[in-house]
Symmetry: D2
Subunit: 346 residues, 4 copies
């Protein structure tokens, strides 16, 4: 049994890691940190995690944690993760960072969007962007994974085949995304209180969300040229899930059949991507609690526009599930280990 | 007191008319029809309408209804409305039709999108599209109002100032709309049952929704040239409200200030349009139960794209409230009569 | 126009007062306080209150407020209200206190359940419990109203006719109540954050909720002897509404018809109580946004138990609407002024 | 691999069986019936069941199905199940019936509450009530299991230790239950449409629900004397879960510690019952998607009343999960096989 430790174990991505890893036959969770809840039993805070009978939250004391595990999941706030990632990585541990701190390969871009400099540029160079559909081989050999953001995961998977096939004009890509409220994290904040969110729907950070450069970095790498996108996130009155509706003008003539074929072909060996038949569209509800991404396609022939819709669970494929997928690749487990659950429906 | 009658009084737009008209000091509801519930008291079916103590649903017997009222609201299914509108109109009644049957001025376009021919082309010519922000003067003199669709109301209000000011390139307008479930009507259908909708979110009728030609007709008239749009509706897990996120490339340089000014100026005398300060975005929750349209604006300077977001209550500004607004204009009442309520928040 | 002022105007009951009073033809809101938001425009915090164009939150400076109004609504936290009520009352103002500070006539009981002594026992003696269905006459002459708690309103209305008619054995009354989340107030607290409440349901403060002595005080007064109850509140995943299911063994033989008659008779002149036909049960949705209480009745003949179910909107009949009802009585307005709205359905 | 077949595979309990059995290493689903969807692929109707690539719904042709499996799960409507259960049972198959048809041991009581006679009284005698916490030994040897109703499961588990210990006066037991909407099944019905359920809450079938005699039968057997209860179900605006709040007067003095001890002792070896510490209460959200029952206890010393609160997932412990638990017992698998998942939280 390989020992793993979760730094930041009392937020929604932290407890989702605990949930998923409880099904994993090859690893054991030996530590979970929480500054606020240090000393409390995990199962006292979260009765649904009664499985972890004896696990007690502890403060993030790096030196002490070092002995506890070989793999470290970091579910810390952006900024706070930089140094801790560097510490464990420099001590030869395997690190999977769920923050944004190691996702942007350009320190300048990171500083521009996150407002703080990157203090570990050499370590940053070793990070692999943990989207298995793009970087499976590199992930297998990596020791530091920058686990993708939730919005970028759905947005990038929507466009990989279209970009690789040069199907679309990239000058005016629109990514209109809608996320469940767990994406905001577990926190005391009037803005995410029940009565403010329920029966409401709104956009936020329009054109300024920090996931924008991450999406653009990966789309540009896939396409081979710089791409800028319009990315608009919205807040959905539901717990989990992101649906992204992506629009791009066709670059050349194509039939619906050709487009669906290209997507099927691109993802045919992917265990967690499900391309739907033409005319069928994804539903957040179909992927809830799973590591799957559902993709639906529409060619609007009246406007020569390709519309791609993806649905993921932001806490699984958009965070903790993808992190475990990356761990499986790094440790040589079967990719789907602990991730082969079906959606809870309804 | 002017007598009004509601044909189709047991669906969501019908009962919303009853709710709104209960506040109106100048009209009295003398009849409400429902084939399924004929003979039943309105307040037995809908306890919240206990105000209408003695109102009993009756079958839609046109001859009998003729004597009952001067103004007829028709909240019947598309197709079913054609003949009934014609009947009351030809008998010199005032008619406000909430169906789509008299919205498209081209009978050919109607037949193409609705699958049935239009049998009353002469009457169709008399219909005025009931969006007061565009056609206030004509509505005042009209006897037949085609009350706008819910999605078109939010989409058109988003674009009027931008089109009038030639601010945007109209070749690739994207209208990404999200509607509460009451938009589907009151019906027995697994697809709108609680457990299918709740905790879910999905697009539907992508690129093929029947509100598309209605949106295009009005945008084209405003702009003076034919416009085609990408229109994608989605189903939100909440009761009421439509939020539309509209994207169009800028046609010429503009500053955020200029855009906000143009919108403020265009709507400054409109009692039901609320243009928000730059950087603030609408929330469906802010307009719930009201006839207001909230508009938020963003100029994405990285991509030279104008993003306009509108929020309405689909049952009020998107249907029954706008119908009462039209009635107020036709009958010479103060425009806001019975419509000056504040949103129920939270 | 009579001037009114709201102390604590940025919580849910405060903004609900603003919403309701906007419909009132006889009063004008001249001040609203909020420590946290002092200096901000009401409509900036709450766009749905755009009606109050020039109202700016101010700190609770009693001396300054004194000149501003004749009637003071206090929507302050329990404990914090004691002194402010006393201040305005002693200055000959009319005061309607939405806190619990003046509801319990026994200072000892108050101290026992609220953990602090009552410092204004002479003022407390002047307070009238503001349930119009019990104390209409006294309210008309009062200058200090202790506005009832949300749970007590629904629970007491359920039992008045049964107690007056000595229909039930009072030794084992069960009040099982379920409240929407707005009852917890507008606050930053993980426990009321969206993802914790949504798709969840739980009891809290079982047998220890502070509304217990308030319920017991009023039931005992109606019955003429001391009554103790089992009161269990639960948290519902919805914004507004309380449904209380109340059980008591029959004290003597009765038929369903006799029971329904007794309830109809007891409430026949009450503008805000709606006794349903036997076999029909209330729904929170039917009273949303209104000052109505729906009452449903069942005589379980297998167990000789009377079951009474009441539904109210906790923010209206359970707080701000009842407060305005009390104001109408105190000022001599028609009772239903500003309160004759129909429920927003769906 | 043992072959199992699901009759009635397209309702919520049917697809939940499919979800749970997909995790089971010892059985394979060889058939699933649906009259309405016969001929359609399971994964076309339910994309989240893509795991079942080649499973196609078929009509319920008993003769044909007989060859397909050794174990038959029946998720058919009440009444419709009688004959099919008898058929498979008489052919020496193992049958787990999720309907109510074989739950009441008295045919007379069945006829009284379900309105139809029981045509297979000899088979009925062979049925074992499938609540493992009561009948584990008999279930292991049974060939016909009457899987308990959802409400009875939560209600009975609340009371077993109290009844066995003669802690309570059984003359006025109150069971106030609140169920998520999936309990109503997957169907086209206005009453369970989204806009009717959402933001609503109501009681139904007060004192007349068909689960009443089932609850009374089992409580009476545990207690050794006939017991009648007040049972009131309510409809919650959420997908899954039942919370039951159960009240009974204490029969003799007891301390909270004694009560908690009795419950801990009674359930200490039960893999799916979780007795919470005194003062902690269950939340539907903590058991969602799992076969667990959470139990919270309160001794109201002011009223000498025991309050027991239980939470289950109505589709798992209240239906399909308990059915698989029963299957595991019948087939000799580890009890928790396929049922050891943690709740999806949030």
């Amino acid at each position: 049994m390989i020992k793993v430790c979760i730094c930041g174990g009392s937020g929604y991505t932290g407890i989702e890691l605990l949930r998923i890893l409880s099904h994993h036959p090859g690893v054991v969770v030996t530590g979970a940190t929480s500054e606020k809840s240090a000393g409390k039993k995990v199962s006292d805070l979260f009765p649904h995690l009664a499985y972890y009978k004896n696990l007690v939250y502890e403060p993030l004391d790096r030196g002490k944690l070092l002995e506890k595990a070989e793999v470290f999941f970091l579910a810390l706030p952006h900024g706070a993760s930089q140094e801790t990632v560097h510490f464990f990585f420099s001590k030869n541990k395997k690190v999977i960072d769920l923050s944004a701190d190691y996702r942007l390969s350009s320190p300048a871009l990171y500083e521009k969007w996150y407002g703080i400099p990157h203090a570990f540029v050499q370590t940053l160079k070793k990070a692999v962007y943990g989207l298995p559909e793009l970087y499976r081989k590199r992930i297998r050999r990596a020791r530091l994974i920058a686990n993708p953001g939730c919005y970028p995961t759905g947005a990038i998977l929507a466009l990989i085949p279209a970009l690789k096939g040069k199907m679309i004009d990239v000058s005016s890509i629109i990514i209109d995304s809608k996320s469940g409220t767990s994406g905001a994290g577990r926190k005391a904040d009037v803005a995410v209180s029940y009565c403010e969110v329920n029966e409401g729907f709104r956009a936020y950070s329009v054109g300024t969300h920090r996931h924008t450069p991450e999406i653009e970095q990966e789309l540009s790498l896939v396409y081979g040229k710089d791409i800028r996108v319009n990315f608009t996130p919205h807040l959905l009155p539901l717990d989990r899930g992101i649906l992204s509706t992506v629009y791009a003008p066709l670059a050349k003539k194509a039939t619906p059949g050709q487009i669906v074929d290209a997507y099927h072909k691109a993802y045919k060996n992917e265990p967690f991507v499900r391309v739907l038949d033409y005319g069928k569209y994804p539903n957040i509800k179909n992927v809830r609690g799973t590591n799957h991404c559902e993709i639906g396609l529409k060619l609007n022939e009246r406007t020569h526009t390709l519309i791609v819709i993806t649905a993921i669970d932001n806490l699984v494929k958009g965070a903790s599930g993808q992190a475990v997928h990356n761990m499986n690749l790094m440790l040589g487990f079967e990719e789907t280990t602990a991730l082969d659950t079906l959606a809870l429906y309804p």
